[in-house]
């Protein structure tokens, strides 16, 4: 039997609120299946299963605030004797005390305990209805939707209210820890990207608007590939030891419309072509703002990039996200005077900076890392095979 615990969905997270179950007892789940939606200070996150198995019981109720590490469900591993637990009668789930007036629900209705309780509260009849859960089981969301025509989604409701304050608190905790614990050093360089942007314009001219690549995706691709080669920039430091990562889960700082930011990961970004990275980035930005980020995307970052965009400042010196050991800052691309063969010419340039952890690397190594990013941007192969 596997205890499923409420995972930490960020380095400073101590508790979270269960918003919704996405599984029912009896259901088979695989590693990576979304099992629940949990609200954190920054966003509602889709929590994924770490294991393959069969859901035996759910031990928490939507709406509950839970400490990180609380056992919220139990899974039977594929090898274990299958428990005979009819999905329609989930036992051992702490059903929230329904009002005594709640009508008994026919046993043939397949519904999650929380959905039954909520249905009783809202006076929604469940008989004869099919939900969107596995096998037509009625979920809490179904009940909410039936209760009001335009019921706000759990994620939307959670996104309102005091969200900006809590986002700011989460950023403050993480950044204060970073400045307390990580001896940062900073380097920056101005990189001539005129040739790279010229190739990108040709690349985009041949594509419909849905297949176009933004300059930021090209820059991120170069950073991801360089990070894959520089093991001392890509990994995690637990305060005592540094563990380099074998893969690059590239955190990308995304500004939230309500203020603040979140930096979810593009998983295995070093393996992506520019086109694939662009698709991934587009999807990640949408979900960061609208909800639907997955737990693996908010916990597994190995290095982070913050890009200010074309309305931003020329450059920035960033703050590393613990337990990572490097942050790459990308400023605004702009025309700047460049000396070429003794003549000053206007060229499109971008200032790329590195904030890195002196416990793991030094300035010489950092300079090599920045030089590698610049070299990748000059190489026409960056855009090939996309």
């Amino acid at each position: 039997m596997i205890d499923v615990q409420l995972p930490s969905l960020g380095p400073e997270m101590t508790s979270g609120k269960l918003l919704e179950w996405r599984i029912v007892p009896g259901q088979q789940v695989r590693k990576g299946t979304v099992i629940a939606v949990v609200d954190t200070e920054k966003a509602a996150i889709d929590v994924e299963s770490w294991h393959d198995g069969e859901v035996v019981e759910l031990l928490a109720t939507p709406g509950q605030d839970l400490a990180v590490g609380t056992v919220i469900a139990r899974l039977a591993t594929p090898g274990e004797a299958r428990l005979t637990l009819p999905a329609s009668v989930p036992r051992s789930v702490p059903t929230p005390s329904a009002p005594p007036s709640a009508a008994p629900v026919a046993a043939t209705v397949r519904a999650l305990p929380a959905a039954r309780a909520r249905a009783a509260e809202l006076g929604v009849a469940l008989e004869g209805r099919r939900g969107r859960g596995p096998g037509g089981a009625i979920t809490l969301q179904d009940v909410e939707d039936w209760a009001t025509e335009h019921a706000p989604r759990a994620a939307d409701a959670a996104a309102g209210g005091d969200r900006p304050d809590s986002v700011r608190r989460a950023i403050a905790a993480s950044m204060a820890r970073s400045k307390r614990e990580i001896p940062h050093y900073y380097l920056w360089d101005e990189i001539d990207v005129a040739a790279a942007l010229g190739r990108l314009r040709l690349f985009n001219a041949a594509r419909s608007v849905t297949g176009r690549v933004l300059p930021v995706a090209m820059l991120l691709t170069a950073v991801a590939r360089a990070a894959g080669e520089f093991t001392d920039m890509n990994g995690a430091h637990d305060g005592l030891h540094y563990r380099p990562s074998g893969r690059v889960n590239l955190g990308v700082a995304v500004a939230l419309r309500s203020g603040g930011l979140i930096a979810p990961a593009l998983i295995d970004a070093h393996l992506l072509s520019v086109g694939q990275l662009m698709q991934g980035l587009s999807d990640l930005v949408r979900r960061a703002r609208a909800g639907g980020l997955r737990s693996s995307e908010v916990t597994g970052q190995t290095i982070t990039v913050t890009a200010l965009g074309d309305e931003g400042s020329r450059g920035l010196l960033g703050v590393i996200y613990p337990p990572q050991v490097a942050l790459v800052g990308i400023g605004r691309i702009s025309l700047r005077p460049v000396v070429e063969s003794g003549v000053v010419v206007p060229r499109e340039c971008v200032t790329i900076s590195l904030a890195a952890d002196h416990r793991v690397s030094d300035g010489r190594r950092g300079a090599q890392f920045l030089a590698r990013i610049a070299a990748l941007l000059q190489s026409p192969e960056l855009l090939e095979g996309t």
Partner: protein
């Protein structure tokens, strides 16, 4: 003019899918959108993808400069839009 108004309303709907705060604003059609909304390059691209889906108009990168204001977007779309279903 009424046809233009209908087009502008439809364009604002597309914009709202990218920047929901537009619903609470009175946009000036003659002022740059980026001065009135916080749109980054990804938002702008999502807006263009939305226009493409809605009106069947594919806007080449070289024309981006002609689409900074709401009235410019409408003037660009109007002669090129595909007849709706």
């Amino acid at each position: 003019m009424t046809q233009n108004q209908e087009l502008i309303t439809a364009i604002i709907e597309v914009l709202a899918s990218v920047a929901p705060e537009v619903r609470d604003l009175e946009l000036d059609p003659h002022a740059p959108l980026r001065d009135q909304l916080e749109l980054d390059s990804m938002d702008h691209l999502h807006f263009l993808i939305g226009l493409h889906g809605r009106f069947g108009v594919d806007i080449p990168e070289s024309d981006y400069g002609a689409m900074r204001k709401l009235d410019e977007v409408a003037n660009y779309i109007a002669p090129r839009r595909q007849p709706g279903p």
